[in-house]
Structure formats: structure tokens, C-alpha cells
Amino acid sequence: MSAEPTRSDVRLLTQAFTPGEEVDRFTRAHPAAGGIVSFLGQVREGGGVEALELQHYEPLTLPAMEDLAAQVRGRWPLDGLLILHRSGEMAPADPIVLVAAAARHRRDAFAAADFAMDHLKSQSWFWKREKVDGTWRWIEPREEDFEDIARWDSAAAE
């Protein structure tokens, strides 16, 4: 009955998934957690993007996601951590990434999910291209992503 930490659930998915089902299953696995924070990123509809493709590199992508999970677990006391990430081609409104953190304390769950997303966004091994007006175009990294990461570097000095 204690809030014993479980192994993180980290998966690289090549097929669509249903976020609500995943969050419900994750929540049921952590009944001793008071709070669960989740983030869902989806392909935005209406921005002119007809399709999005994420390419991964098998030997690096999933191991790096697992490393990130371990880093998050080392930083905050969590009951559980879920990191799901799509690879392959997606349509508008398809889910891309789902992160969920279960913790005794709400603040830890928020920080862990926030940190995981910042690092997935900027440091994970995915190459992204978008189809606009029928033409595929590779997406370059954004400066904003590196700023998101820097937030946590300064926080480490606490």
C-alpha cells in the first residue's frame, strides 16, 4: 500500500494512441499518488500543416528517452512516470507526445512533467518534417527550445 516507485513507462510508438486511455491506465497503476500531471502535444489543426512526420534513429531515440526518464526520477520523488512519443506520419489532431507524472505532492508532478517536455522538445532524437501545400519541409530547431532548457540549468543551482 506504500507509494513505492515503479519502473517508468517509456515507449516509442509508430501507431496512433488514445491519450485518455493511457492516462487512465497510468493513474490506476498509481493509486497512492495524490496527483497526476499530464501533458499532451498534438498536431495542431488549422495552421496549414497537412501532415507531420517524425523520424527517429532506433539506436539513439528510445535509449535517450529512457535516460531522460531516469534523470527526471532522480530529480523529483515520483510514484510513476510515463513518456510516450510517436514516430512516423501523423495527421492534424493526432497525438504526438504524452508525458504524465504521478506524485504525492502536486508541485513535484508539475515540475517533472514540465522538465520532461522541455527536454523532449529540445534534446530528443527526432527529425521533423511538415507537409504544407503538398510539399514536405524539414523543420529546423527553434531558439525558444534552448531557452526552455536553460530554465532548468539555472534552477539546478538552487
Binding site: 539513439l60 523532449l120 527526432f126 527529425w127 524539414w138 523543420i139 529546423e140
Partner: protein, 80 residues
């Protein structure tokens, strides 16, 4: 002796394919040159990282290569 070259992200477009096997005559530089000037130039961009058999190289120092090695060329990631 052969090397398996893997091209990620936009390098795939430049190469025209995701992976190619090349003869390994001598150094990695020679192998890159054998791919033609346009692709060679793209692969040598400073921000392109290398992984040998799934292990990321910390710098661009010429790695010691063996028959069957997989060399992945990784442009800057666009993230998740």
C-alpha cells in the same frame, strides 16, 4: 570492406535515400568523398553529428573503422 552510411532528417533528401553501403578504402574522409561533392559537403557541416554503431561520437575526430560499421549522420534535431 564496407561501411553502412545512414542519413537522418534532411540529409536523407540530399542523399536521395536513407542509407547506403559504400566501399571502405581507407579513412572516413575518403568514404565521404566517394558519395559525391554535394552530399559530402552536407555531411561535413559542423552541426552534423556522427554515431558509429549507435554510439554518438563526442567530436569529429576520425574514428577507427571496421568492416560492417554503421555510420549515422545526424543533423540538428528538431525535437519532439
Amino acid at each position: 570492406m564496407a561501411l553502412n552510411m545512414v542519413f537522418l532528417g534532411k540529409l536523407e533528401d540530399v542523399a536521395g535515400c536513407g542509407a547506403r553501403e559504400v566501399e571502405l578504402a581507407g579513412t572516413l574522409d575518403e568514404a565521404i568523398d566517394s558519395l559525391g561533392p554535394e552530399l559530402a559537403k552536407a555531411l561535413r557541416e559542423p552541426r552534423v553529428k556522427l554515431a558509429v554503431n549507435g554510439i554518438l561520437l563526442q567530436d569529429r575526430d576520425a574514428p577507427v573503422l571496421r568492416d560492417g560499421d554503421v555510420i549515422a549522420f545526424l543533423p540538428p534535431v528538431s525535437g519532439g
